[in-house]
């Protein structure tokens, strides 16, 4: 009851986190990805681009590019517009403009596994095979599986002028070039110098330094194990060494066609060569024949 009363007072003052109740404005921009796909890095990049007068840190990032799950409603109301807002949600038609970051799901699972160790969500010696089973079923976070998150956005929105798809791997390979795409998409005014400055200020080394200085300034890592860092490898393709081959094969079996659609090469033979699926009617017939 007391808890409920506190929540009511918080609401009256706008101190609660809006989460799904966030009032979306027509010029809002959403930075969306499945978790552990480079969202925080891209947040730093965009914050440093948009607010060059105050370098992004783990302390101010929740104000500069807020998270509806982690920032107070009052702070949302006070932001300069257009607002850039972070999200991990699956497809949401209310988002007026979306920058969607996608990352190879074989690297994502490794990253999420270590992050969950850091957060003490799993035992230190819990095998990654076990984690991968939950990961494939979409049970490691409340934002669907990697496949659902990516496919709901891509199939509804790919090709739309309101939607920009970026691959984490491309961002790594040429950060300035990819950031220029974002600048054009969002109609921001930012020349090459500003882009270069944003890239420098958001480099993995700089972010590691910031993490060391401010390990408890952000909910992403508050109270988590300090022996494991939030900014880990910041690379791509680490799965080749860190992920047991059978796990990679299971991920490819689940999402192979989607991975290929995104240009991620498969390590195991293509699971099914069918590039098309039959419609509902013929699917039913097929099921009837099989059962």
């Amino acid at each position: 009851m007391i808890k409920h009363l506190m929540a009511g007072i918080q609401r009256g003052l706008g101190l609660h986190r809006p989460a799904r109740g966030l009032l979306i404005l027509p010029d809002d921009i959403f930075l969306v990805s499945f978790p552990k796909s480079g969202n925080t890095w891209t947040r730093f990049l965009l914050a440093n681009l948009r607010f060059p007068e105050q370098p992004a840190t783990f302390e101010n990032i929740n104000r500069l590019i807020p998270d509806p799950e982690g920032t107070a409603k009052r702070d949302f109301d006070r932001m300069p517009r257009p607002r850039i807002i972070k999200s991990h949600e699956c497809f949401d038609p209310r988002y007026p403009r979306v920058v969607y970051i996608v990352r190879d799901p074989r690297d994502v699972v490794v990253s999420q596994y270590h992050y969950h160790r850091k957060l003490r969500k799993i035992e230190d010696d819990s095998p990654i095979e076990k984690f991968a089973t939950r990961y494939l079923a979409g049970e490691t976070c409340p934002h669907g599986s990697w496949g659902q998150n990516v496919a709901t956005w891509l199939y509804t929105s790919e090709g739309s002028p309101r939607f920009l798809l970026l691959r984490y791997e491309d961002l790594l390979a040429d950060t300035a070039r990819e950031l220029a795409k974002v600048v054009a998409f969002l109609n921001l005014t930012a020349g090459p110098e500003l882009i270069a400055q944003a890239v420098e200020r958001s480099s993995a080394d700089n972010m590691r330094k910031l993490e060391k200085k401010q390990p408890d300034k952000n909910e992403l890592m508050k109270g988590s194990r300090k022996d494991l860092s939030f900014i880990r490898a910041a690379g791509s393709g680490g799965w080749r060494k860190d992920l047991p081959a059978p796990v990679a094969a299971r991920i490819e079996a689940a999402w192979g066609p989607l991975m290929q659609h995104l240009g991620y090469e498969l390590s195991s033979p293509t699971p099914s060569e069918t590039s098309q699926v039959p419609g509902v009617r013929s699917q039913e017939n097929l099921m009837a024949r099989l059962s």
Binding site: C90, F91, A253, V277
Partner: protein, 286 residues
């Protein structure tokens, strides 16, 4: 400021509207569709099936088969579980088990046009052709375009045993057996007589009569233009007479892959080879 205080008080009493910001329980089942796809009809079918001793009508449908969008959080929380809830949401990862009701968008657009006139959501002089343009862009509804809605659910859930795809057209042509499928999905033991009774009690004629009596007692019809009925044609294929040819073509060009996937024949034969690519479907259990 006063609005803030009012909201805080409502929140404290649990009287604030749930919208889509409500607690979903793991044993909830949802009846989901794009608007104007037969959702109210299926709500009646289900309510009549589950509560054979109630007289189901517009006056009590929000209680018997609740819609979180127009219910208070307290009401939703206190419902007996497992709950069956109505929704128009596009893909929502929290909805684990659902009946997804889909209807030919060439009919949906006509239905939505009349509904929006009834509700005064659009000016009386907006033409159907103008409306079609907006419909394709997805600006006629807060739930995204028909494509976005359907594509998001198909991509995330088709093939999953907790996802039952039902076509409005099949429900019209075979109401008893389709209702039987839904009953089975919900784990309701219902013989042919009970199914038949639910279908009869939810017939369009009967719903029209109930609408005349109870239009002011339901959120969907309260304060709307009474000369336009809520229960309208209640049939399929009306677009063939009503929708101008170029409008049909525009809709088909925009959404051909899902027409083919769902088995809705196209007027434009060149679009027959447009299919849903394999990478889209991620809903199968592994």
């Amino acid at each position: 400021m006063l609005a803030h205080v009012k909201y805080a008080v409502k929140y404290l009493l649990g009287r604030d509207q749930a919208g889509n910001n409500f607690t979903v329980f793991p044993d909830d089942t949802f009846l989901v569709s794009y608007p104007k796809s037969g959702n109210t009809w299926v709500r009646f079918l289900l309510a009549n099936l589950i509560y054979p001793n109630e007289t189901v009508g517009f006056a009590n449908i929000n209680r018997l088969l609740p819609a979180p969008g127009v219910s208070s959080k307290r009401f939703l929380k206190n419902l007996p579980r497992p709950r069956i809830l109505k929704s128009h949401e596009p893909f929502d990862v929290r909805f684990r088990k659902l009946i997804y009701l889909v209807r030919d968008p060439r009919d949906v657009v006509i239905s939505e046009y009349h509904f929006d006139l009834k509700k005064r959501y659009i000016e009386p002089d907006v033409t159907l052709e103008q409306f079609v343009e907006r419909f394709i862009k997805g600006t006629t509804s807060g739930y995204g375009s028909w494509w976005e809605h359907t594509a998001s659910w198909i991509a995330a859930r088709h093939g999953n045993p907790a996802f039952l795809l039902v076509r409005y057209e099949d429900l019209l042509s075979e109401p008893v057996s389709e209702t039987g499928k839904i009953a089975e999905f919900l784990g309701i033991q219902a013989g042919p007589e009970r199914l038949q009774a639910a279908v009869q009690r939810s017939a369009a004629d009967r719903m029209r009569k109930l609408e005349k009596q109870q239009a002011d007692q339901w959120t969907g019809t309260k304060n709307t233009r009474k000369e336009i009925p809520f229960v309208r044609a209640a049939k399929s294929g009306g677009w063939k007479e009503t929708l101008p040819g170029h409008c049909v073509q525009e809709i088909e060009i925009a959404w051909a892959p899902l027409f083919n996937f769902l088995g809705y024949p196209l007027q434009t034969p060149e679009l027959d080879n447009k299919t849903v690519p394999a990478w889209v479907r991620t809903g199968q259990p592994l």
